[in-house]
Amino acid sequence: MKKTGFLYDKRYLKHLTGAYHPEIPERLTAIVKGITEADFFSSIINIEAKPADSEAIETVHTKEYIKRFHNACLNHESIFDCPDNQICSDSYDIALLSVGGVLTAADMIMEGKLNNAFCAIRPPGHHAETDQGMGFCYFNNVAIAARHLQRKWNIKRVGIIDIDVHHGNGTEHIFEKDPSVFYYSIHEHPSFAYPGTGRDFDIGKDEGTGFTKNSPVLPGRGIEEYTKLFTQDCIPAFEKFKPEVIIISTGFDAHEDDEMSRIQLSTQGFSWLAEQITNLANNYCQSRLLSVLEGGYCIKRLPELARNHIKILLNS
């Protein structure tokens, strides 16, 4: 059995998005319920969240952007950068706490206190660009974690696997010229789904060419296409890249009961993906695997999806 960490903090519920928004605190409540009720709950290790410092955030985001976001919250604005991004006056602090929690989890993995971890955080991060908030995202948690691993722990190669049903435009753009971070994403085809990026011919730029890989999936194709594309696109690429740590942008919104997408992935489909990723981590990264929550909006399904995910991390 692996040493698996679980990050959650009640304060993550304080980021409020107003009425009729799918990215709501109840998502986390559902996830936590699914995990605390699991038979393996006593075997997982609790991770305490603390706010990230601005130096860490500045490895990815511009100072001007950070300040703009901070000011929007200080001024009690309800929208930041685009109408999708509804905020409250606590959002900035909670976003810092999200990043900080993820960085603590990364440190615990590098210190050997954990093999892997699941971070039940919000707001999510993979749509956030260096200077632009979008798609419910403010600070790119995963990108900041990758930079943290490089700076503090001298990691040479970070592999990111993004299984959220939406393409992680922010993460891709942040690392598209950087051969030290491999970004792989499997998502609903951009001609049908938000944010309209992540085509199979987007493979990185300049020095980073060949270190970005996208597997767009047509609506309704489900597990069959996921199995085929993940096996053909991700596994060989990661075997070649040999990441020292793998970070997962874990979105549960490709699920067949999630109204945010039309991919129709089953609960078993998510387990299959998690098993493939833990295998990669066992083979190349001494099992070092950091899983960070992105989307997933079906309150009914989130408990089982998160529970299965952690169970696979624990038993991998």
Binding site: P83, D84, G135, A193, Y194, P195, G196, T197, E259
Partner: protein, 222 residues
Amino acid sequence: MFINKSMTVNVIKITEDKTLAQAKEKMAKHGGIRHLPVVDGANTLIGIITDRDVRSALPSSLDVCATDIHAASEKLKVKDVMTKKTVVITSEGTIQDALLLTQKYKVGALPVVDNSKKLIGIISVRDLLRAFINVLGIKEPGTLLCIIVDDNFGIMKKITNAIYEEKISTGSILVARYWEKNKRAVFPYLLTQNVTGIKRRFKNLGFRLLDPMDWSIETEEK
């Protein structure tokens, strides 16, 4: 939508007395362009020469060696192979005109001329595509939906009202003829990730949301 904002104004052009070798070199030097408008000394358009015209006029590399091809290209002049009856458009032409012209005459680019046939620009299929990418709004993040509605007066008002009430910005709305009689397929490209509310609203209005795998904007044969 006039073409003057989409066309290239610094046109790479040639005169009719130049050799095919010079024409080839000019195309290669400017990033592999495929069309050179041919002008006289007063910048009046007198024809167009394409890379295809040049290649067709020269012997095949299967039959002769590279030196012979080069010799032929030094001998032949632009005026010998250029198309004299050029399909042109004026700067007051629209994007729609340009699309229909390129389709009708199967050309890859249209020289743009003023009223006295002076060359003032060129618009290529690539320029038109760029303009269309703009029109579709697909460079901005968003979600595309497809709804099937009755072809009734006022239906678009209901659609735009629903989008307005959900406080969503619109990237574009395409309306396509649908294969069912008296129906239209409407494709709103919405600049949001949060489409659950608007989808519900469309359904409540009695619209049918089409399965993405059945989407099509064309029903006519090619």
